[in-house]
């Protein structure tokens, strides 16, 4: 491998050279797109299509409720419609829209050519599309989920929902959540490692801080929901009674797992929108953002507080006063960091000279609507008030004020701000202004009224109500408002179409902004920047008009092509010093094929074709292994020139390569899922009725000790293979693989023989799942050991290129810890249950 760059002779030639490498091929080649600009746009378009479907369902709801005894829908159909409305808006619109914006913008804001893992982005996109399609097809077929968007048990258990409706939700949403977790890993690694040189953490644009915090929240917030969905599906499909109180389960466990995800989800939706506001207000105020550092502190605080208030959705289920106090206080406290941001925005506006553009119009809409939603949120955080308003339309009004105020209006502001970036055209018509007022007015007519119907006692989720309840006139006004709002959204669609088709072209940076995404031609080229900038000040105080032409001419880092490779730079996390050349993989259909195999797994589960499940899983594993064919290098290259007189090694020869960080973050999400499972077991012991069971697990001594020894041998040999890499490392990996295979077999044996029938009691079911979780990790640890061996034999590993083995070592470490915890936990909870049976 030679590291000599090919020097271009002109900006046009450089553009052509880079385009030849980075462009996505036409025709069927589009299916193999991995470029972040294309995938970001696809995410956004798909999310908006789902928004239209969700909005249509909302119109059906309002049509039904316009009068007290409407024959429009019966109760069963109405249940499907409101369930799918909430599900689509939360899982198929809000989160994916934010993901799309992050995927499209992040590398551009950070001065990079792409995200850290382009193929992972593509895989996430296909999982989102296929999972979402499952749900929509179910809706069309009349078998959509109908237990509400939070799928409370026992309503969603097989006793009360015997069809596949609930399975569609559990499996479809889990499928979609793969894209959320993969996006979280992608965003975290990209923000921390894939930035322009010189962009230290304190120089990042504020939006990058928001995205970093939100991605971390997703990494911790989604696993409890995924676990809950797995457990409920195990109960529905195989009878493992996690939520069945007659067999030691507890429906409240579902509520805990769901809201452990569900409340942070609100902030996961709000914070990116707040990031858009923090980006746009300084541009239109003509002044730097007030309190940059304070805002960073506030969003970190908000992220943590949002995880400490999930029980405020469960005030009425019977929880001790002290616990209620914790959650009520944390709920009220969350208003403080939110208010800090609001005051920082107001201070920025008041110190600047605001321009009243269309994006600013939507930001003012945000201020009005979101702050009202925040105030009713503080009311609902108070336990006595919540007991009165629980499950009424007051709550529906509150959540729409928060979500529409805190997400839709900022996103519309962002749409109008960045649409010229994607299209290269500016609006020439003024439809956007009446469209805003229709949406704003229609929204307030629709939802302000719901506060009143809620305070008059109207419960949510009813499809009919008595004529003498005094709710009919209010509901009719509400429904009329919703139609006005819909006309507004339709006008926005027309306006966007006109802008894309007939808009006025412009040169660069039409808003006089100060961030890097405008320092590139618009629409953006596939490689973003012909050369990467050196950032010497905070990256939201730059001058794109001056920087852009310099970068286009190749003045900066990597202002050349090298061996036809897709290259961007990795930096040290804190200081932003150039650290590695990240060599990205090219276009490939593998993400699509892997997502199809993943889809086969979910469909096999849905239609109970369990014979196909292992085949689909093995196909997924094989396809993921195929991803590695084009990664790595077979010889050491040492440092490569990157321009500006600097040289850094390729990522395969670097200690902190992006994939090493990705594995750490994946394990963090995995550990959260595991901790949630252990919490579930402990929760059932503490709270569930019908404990202890008649039959207790009996692990004995010998097999757990042998398993522990095998686990420790596996991790020790795996570590030894990497820590002193030499010609014996392959042998150590063989030992590691063998030890992990033995651990796997022993754990499966324990699960099958030492645990009473898992369908008999929740204790057995929990122990069974915990042991199988550990066994699955041992199996994958064996695969990692085998993969390491293959990489050594194929010449991808040397003392300077240990990345593959170091990633495997992380998995081996986690497996050993998880396996030992599994053995100890099952023994301990059995002992606790046994003591309960004695007392």
């Amino acid at each position: 491998m030679t590291g000599t760059p090919e020097q271009p002779t002109s900006p046009i030639r450089l553009h052509k050279q880079l385009s030849a490498i980075w462009d996505t091929p036409p025709g069927l080649g589009r299916l193999g797109a991995v470029n972040h600009t294309i995938l970001g746009q696809r995410f956004i378009i798909a999310a908006l299509i789902f928004f239209a479907i969700g909005g249509l369902l909302a119109m059906l709801i309002r049509t039904q409720l316009a009068s007290g005894a409407s024959p429009f829908m019966d109760a069963e159909l109405y249940a499907q419609v409101f369930t799918m409305h909430g599900t689509i808006m939360m899982f198929l619109f809000a989160i994916p829209l934010f993901e799309g914006i992050a995927i499209y913008l992040l590398p551009k804001l950070l001065g990079a050519r792409d995200l850290a893992f382009p193929r992972l982005t593509a895989y996430g996109f296909w999982c989102y599309i296929f999972g979402g399609t499952m749900l929509i097809v179910a809706l069309i077929a009349g078998v959509a989920p109908d237990s509400g968007w939070f799928m409370y048990t026992p309503l969603s258990s097989s006793t009360y929902s015997p069809g596949i409706n609930a399975d569609v939700w559990l499996l479809g949403i889990t499928f979609v959540e793969i894209s959320a977790v993969s996006a979280a890993v992608e965003i975290m690694v990209s923000v921390l490692k894939v930035r322009a040189p010189g962009m230290s953490l304190d120089r990042m644009p504020i939006f990058a801080w928001y995205l970093l915090v939100v991605a971390a929240m997703m990494l911790i917030g989604f696993p409890p929901l995924i676990l809950g969905s797995i457990l409920l599906e195990l109960e529905r499909a195989f009878g493992l009674p996690f939520f069945d109180p007659t067999r030691g389960g507890d429906p409240l466990l579902w509520q805990h797992l769901f809201w452990l995800f569900g409340h942070p989800e609100v902030y996961i939706i709000f914070l990116p929108a707040a990031g858009v506001i923090s980006t746009l207000i300084p541009v239109f105020a003509g002044r730097a953002l007030t309190g940059y550092r304070t805002i960073v502190v506030a969003i970190i605080a908000l992220a943590f507080l949002s995880f400490g208030l999930w029980v405020h959705h469960m005030y009425t289920v019977g929880i001790p006063h002290l616990a209620l106090g914790f959650f009520s206080a944390a709920s009220a406290m969350a208003a403080v960091p939110t208010a800090i941001q609001v005051f920082a925005w107001l201070a920025t506006l008041s110190h600047g000279r605001p321009r009243l553009t269309v994006p600013m119009l939507h930001i003012f809409g945000f201020f009005f609507v979101f702050i009202m939603g925040g105030l009713t949120g503080v009311m609902l955080a108070m336990v006595p008030f919540d007991w009165q308003a629980h499950d009424t339309h007051f709550v529906v009004a509150h959540l729409h004020y928060v979500l529409v105020g805190g997400f839709i209006f900022p996103m519309l502001a962002g749409l109008y701000y960045w649409l010229p970036h994607a299209t290269g055209r500016l609006a020439v018509h003024n439809l956007s202004v009446p469209a805003f007022w229709l949406v704003f007015g229609g929204f307030n007519i629709t939802f302000f009224i719901m506060h009143l119907t809620g305070l008059r006692g109207m419960p949510r989720r009813i499809h009919a109500y008595p004529a003498d309840a005094g709710w009919e006139v209010l509901n009719l006004i509400s429904s009329m408002g919703s139609f006005i709002m819909t006309i507004g959204f339709a006008l926005i669609v027309v306006d966007v179409f006109l802008q894309i088709r007939f808009g006025r072209r412009f040169r660069r940076d039409p808003w006089k902004s100060a961030t890097l995404e405008w320092a590139m031609p618009t629409p953006p080229p596939s490689y973003n920047f012909a050369a990467l900038p050196k950032v010497e000040r905070r990256a939201d105080g730059l001058k794109p008009q001056e920087i852009g032409p310099q970068l286009a001419a190749g003045h900066g880092y990597l202002g050349f092509v090298r061996q036809g490779r897709m290259e961007t730079l990795g930096v040290s996390m804190l200081t932003g010093k150039a650290e590695q050349v990240i060599i990205l993989p090219g276009q490939t259909n593998l993400p699509l094929y892997t997502a199809l195999a993943t889809g086969c797994f979910f469909l096999a589960m849905l239609f109970k074709q369990y014979w196909a499940v292992p085949i689909a899983l093995l196909a997924m594993l094989a396809l993921f292994l195929l991803w590695t064919r084009v990664t790595g290098q077979r010889s050491d290259t040492g440092s490569l020139p990157i321009g500006m007189g600097e040289s850094v090694p390729p990522h395969a020869e670097c200690d902190e390569a992006p994939s090493w960080w990705a594995m750490r973050f994946i394990l963090t999400a995995n550990a959260t899922l595991y901790a949630s499972l252990l919490f579930g077991g402990l929760f059932l012991w503490v709270s569930a009725p019908n404990w202890p069971p008649a039959d207790l697990p009996a692990l004995g001594i010998v097999l757990p000790v042998l398993t522990a020894l095998a686990l420790l041998t596996g991790v020790a040999s795996g570590r030894r293979a990497v820590s002193h890499y030499d010609n014996r490392s392959a042998g150590w990996l063989v030992l590691c693989g063998l030890a992990q295979a033995i651990s796997c077999a022993l754990l499966v044996w324990l699960a099958l023989t030492a645990i009473p029938a898992p369908t008999g009691h929740a204790l057995s079911a929990t122990s069974f799942v915990i042991l199988l979780y550990a066994a699955l990790h041992c199996f994958l640890a064996t695969v990692f050991a085998g993969y390491g061996l293959w990489r050594i034999k194929a010449g991808y590993v040397s003392p300077a290129r240990l990345l593959d083995l170091r990633i495997g070592r992380l998995w081996q470490d986690y497996t050993a810890i998880a396996g030992l915890i599994a053995l100890v936990f099952v023994a301990a909870i059995t002992r606790l249950a046994a003591e309960g049976s004695l007392s």
Binding site: R293, F307, V686
Partner: protein, 118 residues
């Protein structure tokens, strides 16, 4: 002064609230386990139950840990020989985050002194 690696330094920005989260889990989980094991029935002295003692002890420990962390960050920020603007920024964010976590601890958990635990 203890030298920290860059990723560890970056993690400092969240450390105050990480301690707060651990305290939350310990107090909420500890309270549930204590109720299950009947610690609220075990009176030690002067009407103080084992449950209350455990909760107050966890509360005091958490508060002390976050306070110490905030002081440590304050000293690191104020000390001479700072390495870079980025490091200064991290220490200031970590310190301010620690102070916010102290406020959150006082506001959310002081209830352990008087509310009925079970």
């Amino acid at each position: 002064m203890i030298a920290l690696k860059q990723p560890a330094t970056t993690l400092l920005v969240a450390t105050g609230f990480i301690i707060w989260s651990v305290a939350f889990i310990a107090l909420y989980g500890g309270n549930a386990v204590g109720c299950r094991l009947g610690w609220s029935e075990i009176e030690l002295a002067g009407g103080i139950t084992l449950q209350r003692l455990m909760l107050v002890g966890l509360y005091a420990l958490s508060l002390a840990a976050i306070l110490l962390f905030s002081l440590w960050m304050h000293r690191r920020y104020r000390s001479a020989g700072r390495t870079s603007e980025a490091t200064d920024f991290i220490y200031r964010v970590a310190r301010d985050g620690g102070v916010a976590a102290v406020a959150a601890t006082l506001f959310c958990f002081t209830l352990v002194f008087w509310l009925s635990p079970c």
